[in-house]
């Protein structure tokens, strides 16, 4: 339809993006939302079902109290109002992964409303409004067989597993977020990151996007700059990682700008995000918006959380990320940007723990954001998943500070720990990785280097002190990096002075 593509920068000249996010969180309760089946990711198909989550004729739902508690927790952490009385509702539509062909959800009476989440992006705080938080049940999972890509299009048939059906989901819907301009994609990503961290802190979900326990749909629209009129929004699904959130928003902005530039209108529809190409394609048209014929769920009675219970839950909230941020910024004298770097690397916990066992904040940050972040990236994991403890890192930092190790040796020690060879001290001992502190050993290497490089020695004696670097390098090589480079240079100058 639209032909010419538009660059992001170009699009932002003429249009103001507005985005919103709908996030589904699988709660980490032991059992499902309406029955006592255990949640089990990756189990044999249809091995964790019962008449209720299979929707067998005659079955009835009973609400999991812990799920309500978790949802209230989330609402409170998002500064939302908790309903004093609300009901579940049936959302009616036919689809094979929904055993009853209706989903028990909430409609016009969500459990929590009207909150916000402050998001730190590029050194400033953006307040993302939260429209609502409500509870619903998850659907089963389908395998589509016969098509080229395993997707629905072109499949010959589908195979449905209902293990996931009935797992409690909390849906968090933001209010539309205008005014982020150029950084819209970043802010969207930062919101999801912040939300994820908060949910992890609350311990209500393991929030793994790659496992589907945190799912995002992104809504995007463009407003012509200065018009004050908001555009038609599209919904993008299949956004499976933080990076995809950013890319999806960016891609939709570019696409919609091109459509509008060409004089066409943006169609209100659901789009599918493609990881490989980074673009969205058209899915189902939402123009004829589906009528879900919502009505209050007659098999469940209303939920009226007693104020004492809500107060109890409030009192039990752990330190939330925003509070922690304030605390650490002060304790470690960090700028917002420095803090963000830590948070984005997923290193906050490990750095804090490393400081707790004695390292300085600067050292802890240096190692976790430097060498370890690099290693984590190479292995495709989070820093927190590396097989090295904050205690070990603190020890390495200590050894470097005391001069027993230099940076190069320290990296080798870290390698050893990551390889599973033991504690830093054990690795040092096993490989003899201590800095050579014995001058006599160094002198031997120095004499060899001097003898081997007469022209360099001549230049040094001539006054070209920098040339000493070559000798230092040779000694470092000879000692397999185990020398303190500064000390080597000192000794060389002493030697040559004599």
């Amino acid at each position: 339809m639209s032909v010419a593509t538009v660059s992001y920068e170009d699009a932002l000249q003429r249009y103001e993006p507005v985005f919103g996010l709908e996030t589904h969180v699988e709660l980490g309760t032991r059992t499902k939302m309406f029955c006592g089946c255990v949640q089990a990711f990756g189990a044999e198909p249809n091995s964790h079902t019962c008449p209720v989550c299979l929707g067998l004729p005659g079955s009835l739902p009973v609400v999991n109290r812990l799920a309500i508690e978790y949802a209230i927790k989330i609402g409170l952490a998002l500064n939302a109002a908790i309903a004093s009385w609300c009901r579940f509702a049936r959302k009616n539509y036919f689809y094979p992964d929904m055993p009853k062909n209706f989903q028990i959800s909430q409609y016009d009476e969500p459990l929590c409303t009207d909150g916000y989440l402050d998001v730190l992006v590029g050194g400033r705080t953006v307040r993302v409004g939260i429209e609502r938080v409500h509870l619903e049940e998850d659907t089963g999972k389908s395998l589509h067989i016969g098509g080229a890509t395993g997707r629905i299009q072109g499949a010959e048939y589908s195979l449905v597993d209902y293990n996931r059906a009935g797992i409690p989901l909390v849906e968090i819907v933001t209010k539309p977020v205008p005014g982020t301009g150029y950084s819209a994609p970043e802010v969207a990503k930062a919101y999801v990151t912040e939300l994820r961290d908060m949910l992890r802190t609350l311990d209500v979900s393991d929030v793994r996007m790659e496992e589907g326990s945190l799912r995002c749909d992104v809504n995007t629209s463009l407003s012509v700059r200065g018009s004050g009129v908001w555009g038609t929004r599209t919904e993008t699904k299949n956004v499976n990682s933080l990076r995809s959130v950013e890319r999806a928003v960016r891609s939709e902005i570019e696409r919609q700008a091109a459509v509008l530039d060409a004089g066409d209108r943006v169609i209100q529809e659901t789009r599918h995000f493609h990881e490989d190409s980074g673009v969205t394609t058209s899915g189902r048209s939402k123009e004829e918006a589906q009528d879900y014929r919502y009505f209050p769920e007659p098999d469940l009675v209303p939920v009226a959380p007693p104020p004492e219970w809500v107060a109890e839950i409030h009192a039990s909230l752990p330190e939330l990320p925003s509070a922690r941020r304030a605390r650490l910024l002060a304790a470690w004298s960090l700028s917002d940007l420095e803090f963000e770097a830590l948070r984005n690397a997923g290193a906050l916990d490990v750095v804090e723990e490393t400081v707790a066992v004695g390292a300085s904040p600067a050292d802890a940050r240096k190692w976790w954001l430097g060498e370890l972040a690099r290693r984590a990236n190479d292995s495709g994991v989070d820093v927190s998943e590396l097989p090295i403890t904050p205690t070990a890192v603190a020890r390495v930092a200590e050894l470097v500070a005391s001069g027993s190790l230099n940076d190069q040796l320290a990296r080798q020690v870290i390698d050893g720990v990551l390889e599973g060879e033991g504690t830093p001290d054990e690795v040092v001992a096993a490989h003899g990785l201590a800095v050579v502190s014995d001058d006599s050993a160094l002198l031997a290497a120095i004499d060899e280097a001097v003898a081997a490089n007469p022209d360099v020695v001549a230049r040094i004696r001539d006054g070209k002190v920098q040339a000493a670097g070559v000798l230092v390098g040779a000694v470092m090589k000879a000692t397999r990096g185990k020398a303190n480079a500064a000390r080597v240079r000192e000794l060389i100058m002493e030697r040559l002075a004599s």
Binding site: C50, P51, L54, G55, L56, P57, G58, S59, L60, P61, V62, V63, R90, N92, F94, P96, P99, K100, N101, F102, S158, V160, D291, R293, Y294, F295, P298, D299, L300, V301
Partner: protein, 496 residues
């Protein structure tokens, strides 16, 4: 007829306890009776046969060993085919569930089994409990034992017919708009709709979730109370189940007494549309109550006349959603080829009967955006007004009385394709369903025109189920005195 099949459950229980007869003999007698008459009555969709005898023998063994037994031990109970049973098919009277064997048991049937009751078979019903004649069954209609050319009422027609023809002393039914009381009335037996939430709906396939109430049928008030008590009580598997002790219905049934009771006659339930013979018997019943010491007044419940349209909005709305799961994907019938959507539509087309289709579409309409407020939403408001009418009435009287249904049993086929005429059978029974109150139907005589049974309806406030039995027992005793025998003895033909 074998004496064993004409005895009441109470009498059978006493006889078994006294060692005069074994549970196996009782069950055998009833299975024999089924073999003789059910080809005509067609009350049963499935007869348990050997399994029933095995249950009975187990009761005898337990009794001999001195193990504890429930009050209904060894008593055959017929089960409306809406309750899930693991050892018998559960069809709900629909072709869409033909042969379905549930992998789980309903709470009520499990409790009855645990107490030693013998579940003798599954009975015919209007498809998914929608109807007033059992003609909507996907497996053909059942017949009224009083006159085989007439309907046994519905939707629990099979259960009522089974009890009325002595094929079982007790039966389970469900009442959503009158589906226990109306069949009881037209078959000349006793049937109760307990307080909503008083009996568990877990394993009772849902028709209208906020109205469905499982309940008992019996040939006497005491028998009905015995089953009422055994099947009722809180169930944690049902969120709408009331967590309170079962009202003392058996105690009340043993001590029928209306002296000093204030009884209200619902003035809206009379007039045009009511068969004269029905009104005549009802009037006599009211006079009887007065003669027994009750204080009778007329009470107006002005919103009751909107109960029927409100019900025919709320029930179809809920059922349109409850029946969505029947799509050929996970169980039951699968028909057609092509895409999932096509197979779903073909399956439901082939598996559902006309009434089910009408109500599904009606419900879809009433819940549609744009129509919700005017139809479903309005009906829910009417429901509130009806509850208030009851509250106001019960502020003045202890129970309300009315006819159960405007006519006696109508001929098979007469209203089968006239939905609105069919719906009128529920006129008097619906208000109690909408409000959740308890109500009972018991025989009060035969209509002069056709010599067919007429039922008296008594309605009590929620959780006052025992009050129904106190009144019913008094009326039953007085009428039996007057007639010289139970009304059922008047039924010719089959019951000879």
């Amino acid at each position: 007829m074998d004496e064993l099949i004409t005895m009441t459950a109470a009498e059978l229980s006493a006889a078994m306890s006294a060692g005069k007869v074994s549970a196996a003999e009782v069950t055998t007698a009833h299975l024999d009776r089924i073999a003789v008459v059910d080809s005509q009555v067609r009350a049963f969709l499935h007869v348990a046969g050997d399994e029933a005898l095995a249950q009975a023998r187990e009761v005898d063994r337990k009794r001999a060993a001195g193990e504890p037994l429930g009050p209904l031990a060894g008593i055959p109970v017929a089960v409306k085919d809406l309750f899930t049973t693991v050892d018998m098919p559960t069809t709900c009277g629909s072709r869409i569930l033909e042969g379905w064997r549930p992998p789980y048991e309903s709470t009520i049937t499990r409790r009855l089994r645990d107490g030693g009751a013998v579940l003798i078979g599954k009975t015919n019903m209007d498809e998914f409990a929608m109807g007033s004649s059992t003609e909507n069954s996907g497996y053909g209609f059942s017949r009224n034992p009083w006159d085989l050319a007439r309907v046994p009422g519905g939707s629990s027609g099979g259960s009522a017919a089974a009890v009325a023809s002595y094929q079982a002393p007790l039966a389970l039914g469900t009442d959503t708009g009158g589906s226990i009381r109306q069949p009881a009335a037209v078959c000349g037996i006793v049937g109760t709709k307990p307080t909503y939430g008083g009996s568990s709906r877990y394993g009772v396939v849902a028709f209208a979730s906020s109205l469905d109430t499982p309940g008992p049928f019996g040939r006497s008030v005491l028998d009905t109370a015995l089953l009422h008590e055994a099947m009722s009580g809180h169930d944690p598997m049902d969120s709408t189940s009331i967590d309170a002790p079962v009202p003392p219905v058996v105690e009340a049934a043993r001590h029928g007494d209306v002296s000093g009771m204030r009884i209200g006659v619902v003035s809206e339930f009379s007039g045009d549309g009511y068969q004269p013979g029905v009104m005549a018997r009802f009037t006599e019943a009211v006079e009887l109550l007065e003669s027994l010491g009750a204080k009778v007044t007329e009470i107006s419940c002005p919103h009751f006349k909107y109960a029927l349209p409100a019900y025919y909005l709320i029930a179809p709305s809920e059922v349109s959603s409850n029946l969505a799961r029947f799509d050929g994907m996970r169980y039951g019938l699968r028909a057609g080829t092509g895409s999932a959507e096509e197979v779903m539509a073909r399956t439901r087309e082939a598996g559902f009967g006309a009434e089910a289709k009408r109500r599904i579409m009606l419900g879809t309409y009433a819940l549609s955006s744009g129509y919700y407020d005017a139809y479903y939403g309005k009906a829910q408001q009417v429901r509130t007004l009806i509850i208030r009418d009851f509250d106001a009435a019960f502020g003045q009287v202890d129970v309300l009385v009315s006819p159960v249904t405007p006519t006696t049993a109508f001929p098979i086929g007469e209203r089968a394709d006239d939905p609105i005429a069919m719906y009128l059978a529920d006129l008097c029974t619906i208000p109690a369903d909408l409000a959740g109150n308890a109500a009972i139907s018991l025989p009060c005589g035969l209509a002069d025109e056709d010599r067919l049974p007429v039922g008296l309806q008594v309605m009590a406030p929620t959780l006052a189920d025992d009050r129904l039995y106190r009144v019913a027992a008094a009326v039953e005793a007085a009428f039996t005195d007057r007639w010289g025998h139970p009304l059922l003895n008047e039924a010719k033909g089959l019951n000879a």
